[in-house]
Assembly symmetry: C2
Homo-oligomer: 190 residues x 2
DNA sequence: GCAGAGCTGGACCGGACGGTCCAGTCACAC
DNA sequence: GTGTGACTGGACCGTCCGGTCCAGCTCTGC
C-alpha cells in the first residue's frame, strides 16, 4: 500500500482523486490498475463508477486537475513574499526539491505521468495543455507584478517552466533533488 | 499499424528494437501490449523470447539504449561543423523540432517514456541515469572542444539537457515544435 | 546428404485488467 | 414509519495481458 494514502476523514470522492494523483504520478496511467487504486483509496468499485461515470479516464482528468491546482498554490506561496522574481523562482525550486525528497525521489510531474501516458485521447491532450498553460500564466502574473516588461515576463515564465520540467526529469533519473535546487543558477539575471 | 514500422530488410531483432523504441516513445511502456508490438515488428512471439529471454523488460532496455545512441549521433552531427557552442546547440534544437514534426507531434523522450513508466525496477532506473549522463557527457565534450572553462562547460551541458527535456514536454502538450526552436534563446551567452 | 544450431510461428495458459450491475445501507424529508 | 435518492460493497464478466512451450523450418559446416 501507498504510504501516502489519503485519510479516511476525506470523502470517498476526494480519496479517489488523491490516491489517483499520487499513484499515477509515480507509475503512470497505465501502470496503475483499478484494484491498486481502489485499495489505496479504501473505496469499492461501485463508488468509483458512481462519482466518475467514465471510470478510470474521468478520474485521471480529475486527479490531474487537482494536482495542477496544488502546483498553482505552490507557485503562489513561493512568489507571495518574495522580494524579487528570481527569489520567488528560487523558493519554488527549493519547495519542489523538498517535496521530491519526501515523495521517495521518484515522483514525476503529475500531469505528464497521468495524461501523456494515458489513452491517445483528445480530451487528455487538451487538458494537459490547459493545465500547463495555467502554470505558465500564474508565473507570468508574478513576473508582471515585479514590473518585468511583458516580453521579458513571457520569456522568464516559459524559461522557468521548461527548467522545472527538465530538472524534474533529471532529478528523477539521478534520484537526487540537487538538480532542482541548482536550477535557479541557470536563469539569467532579469 | 504504426506508419513508421521498421523495414523487413532488417533482422527480426532489429525490427523488434525499433518498433519497441517507437511505440514506447509515444504510448509509454505499459501502454504498449506485446501483441501490438509484435504486429508492428512483424515478428512472432517466439522470436521475441528467443532474442530477449526476459521478454518485454529486456526489450525495453535494448530499445532505450538504441534510442539513446541515435540521440548521441544527433548531438554529434549537430555540433560537428558548428562554429560555436551556441550554434551547435541551436542546430540540435532545430533538428529535434524537425523530428518532432515528422513524428506526428506527440513523441516524447524515448528514455523517459520507456524506462520511467516501466516497472519499478532498479535496472530501469540505473539504465535511465546512465543513458542521460551519456547525453550530458557528449554535450560536455563539445563544450570542451570550443574551449569553454570546465565549470562553464558543465553548466552549459546541464542547462541544454534540462531545456531540451522541458521543451520537449511543452512541445508535446502544445503539439507545436515552436517551443523547441525557441529554446536556444533561453541559453545565456557563454 | 546430413546433423545440429539458430530462429520462427503460433497455440495455449493463468491471471489481471477495466467495466457492469444491483442489492444493500444510510441520512433525511415528510 | 415510510419513501427517496445518494452512495457503498462486491460478485461477476469478457477481454487482453505477458509469458510458456514446442514443433518445425531454415541455414550452415562438413
Amino acid at each position: 500500500m501507498n504510504t501516502r494514502s489519503p485519510s479516511l476523514a476525506l470523502s470517498t470522492k476526494d480519496r479517489l482523486i488523491r490516491s489517483a494523483a499520487t499513484l499515477f504520478r509515480t507509475r503512470g496511467y497505465h501502470g496503475v490498475g483499478l484494484n491498486d487504486l481502489l485499495a489505496d483509496a479504501k473505496a469499492p468499485k461501485g463508488s468509483l463508477y458512481h462519482h466518475f461515470p467514465n471510470g478510470k479516464s474521468d478520474l485521471a482528468l480529475a486527479a490531474a486537475t487537482w494536482a495542477s491546482d496544488e502546483m498553482l498554490r505552490l507557485i503562489a506561496v513561493s512568489f507571495a513574499d518574495a522580494p524579487t522574481f528570481k527569489s520567488g523562482a528560487t523558493t519554488l525550486c527549493h519547495k519542489l526539491a523538498k517535496l521530491f525528497d519526501l515523495s521517495g525521489k521518484w515522483d514525476g510531474c503529475p500531469i505528464a505521468a497521468t495524461l501523456f501516458e494515458g489513452p491517445d485521447n483528445a480530451d487528455f491532450r487538451a487538458c494537459a495543455q490547459r493545465l500547463y498553460d495555467g502554470w505558465i500564466a500564474e508565473v507570468h502574473d508574478h513576473a508582471d507584478r515585479f514590473g518585468l516588461a511583458p516580453d521579458i515576463a513571457d520569456h522568464q515564465a516559459r524559461h522557468l517552466f521548461v527548467l522545472i520540467q527538465g530538472g524534474w526529469l533529471l532529478a528523477r533519473a539521478r534520484r537526487s533533488s540537487d538538480v532542482l535546487r541548482a536550477l535557479p543558477d541557470l536563469i539569467a539575471e532579469a
